[in-house]
Symmetry: C2
Subunit: 316 residues, 2 copies
């Protein structure tokens, strides 16, 4: 469930634009006003506001926001204002260009989205960067990571609920053999993780657990410093329990010495309209602290206000 709060009667895009334009005018910027509007509008509404704004004032709303805002608050508002597909394209582009073996953004976008959402992100990538996502991923990654990430970002997994139990059994066995041999980069292991449907993989992982006594992610933890293993675990996590995956990203971002604002912003802006309520439940269960308290403790100012608004605080 989403955490986004939207007012019962929503102002017209023209009214919202007028208010936004007012927020940018005169002495200083009225950040509160910007939050009170943009943090309480759904995807389609934000799209209409952008369209109306550029028609009325001859400038892209995102450009105006960029001029007026700064730092983490700026990034949060910009990411949030984008369409989900454009936002994913932008995040994936950063994830590819500044790729490091510890960065899981590409995995997140490939595995914690629906097949169609991933495809829309690839379409938006064409429009924005005049290249394909897989082309950038392939040219910025190397070796085994490339072997893993290129099929991942190119996947269009079947999304039905049908499960082939015979196949699940035989592939659980293959996965177990490869993991036992520490053949983590094996083609078969990668094939299974990058092509099978989420329902099928869920069945495979369950059989793995039943048959071999451990959750697959436990067996993939034999070397906790190996980035490739961490990536494989992130894939399994994103595919089978995205809410828990995002809880963990938030936990690590917040518990770090010095908050990881990049991760915090990314999770809140990409999930507020999707499953943030479930992620917050997971967070509370795992940390015994509500996420909003943790955010209040770790952040401040307009950035804090924006994050809190997106996770359901304040009046819409």
């Amino acid at each position: 469930m989403a955490t986004l709060l939207v007012p019962q009667t929503i102002p017209s895009p023209a009214e919202d634009c007028e208010q936004l334009h007012k927020a940018f005018s005169g002495w200083g910027t009225n950040e509160k006003l910007i939050i009170s509007i943009l943090a309480h509008r759904r995807e389609a509404q934000r799209r209409s506001i952008r369209k109306c704004y550029s028609e009325t004032y001859g400038e892209d709303l995102l450009k105006s926001l960029e001029k007026e805002l700064s730092n983490d608050f700026e990034r949060t508002v910009l990411l949030w204002t984008l369409d989900p597909a454009e936002r994913d394209a932008l995040l994936a582009n950063e994830g590819a260009r500044k790729w490091s073996s510890k960065n899981h953004v590409l995995i997140e976008i490939s595995c914690a989205r629906s097949s169609n959402e991933l495809f829309l992100a690839r379409q938006a990538y064409h429009a924005r960067y005049k290249r394909s996502l897989e082309e950038d991923v392939a040219s910025h990654t190397i070796g085994d990571f490339r072997k893993l990430l290129v099929p991942l970002v190119s996947s269009y997994r079947y999304e039905g609920t049908e499960v082939n139990m015979t196949l699940a059994k035989s592939e659980a066995k293959i996965l177990h053999e490869k993991i036992a041999e520490k053949a983590f980069h094996d083609d078969e292991l990668i094939r299974i993780l990058t092509t099978r449907s989420k329902a099928q993989l869920n069945a495979t992982f369950n059989l793995y657990n039943n048959e071999f006594g451990n959750a697959i992610n436990k067996d993939l933890k034999s070397d906790s410093k190996d980035d490739f293993l961490t990536a494989l675990r992130a894939i399994v996590h994103c595919l089978t329990c995205p809410e828990k995956y995002f809880e963990k990203v938030l936990r690590l971002a917040i518990n770090k010495m010095g908050t990881d604002e990049g991760a915090l912003t990314r999770v809140v802006t990409t999930r507020a309209e999707v499953d943030m309520a479930g992620i917050m439940d997971c967070y509370y269960k795992r940390n015994s602290v509500p996420l909003d308290h943790a955010i209040v403790k770790d952040t401040s100012g307009d950035y804090e206000d924006m994050l809190l608004a997106l996770i359901g605080h304040g009046n819409a």
Copy 2:
């Protein structure tokens, strides 16, 4: 340009359905009537006819056709009547399940279609087979062919005309080095062929030719019996000059001892509404025999009539 001929005033789907139903009724089947209708209707019209037929007679038109027709004629009518995306899904499924290193159908569907057409085929594949295309390709192919075919069928190439000449130059060099070393299965070579846009690859191949004195496909011919090399040449061919590629498929299908009806049917049904006129021009230039003469010589009966109708014979 398409070769499909469509009458100036097109009967309503209801009228077409009535005629088709009549063609199936009574003693024997009226194949001429079937051809006179289906071989002269565009994609959207055939879709309307199928919809109307199933609403009126409670049976899928394809099922009725299957019952009434046989052999090559049946396959041609069935393939033709399908939507292009469904047809590609069916051909790709056969191409994956009965995969052999000499079969280029998967290459054709991955490289001689637009990015969007390939994506629509992947969507149709989900609907029809309850699996993904890449999943079937990955599980039916092995080794280097898998390394080549999985990214190929998963690709969503950028389709703009922008070309980066510096990149083209550096990648022409990489291709030349790998080919000179006979490292045909090299990751970099496969990355370039499977991810770059057609415009970019065209520039790369041109620079290859300028710089190193041979067309890339000539250098990829060092061992004419190596199926992997033949596959690489088919990829280059499909990406850069699909009409010539299809001309060659037709030429080999027709010049064989015993016509290769599978290939002939596939090319005619998949290209009649796209670029069959250009393919026929290429065919005539290369063989000094018009394609229709060659078809008349090699085929017979309703099959012959259907093929000829699709390449522009007869009155619509």
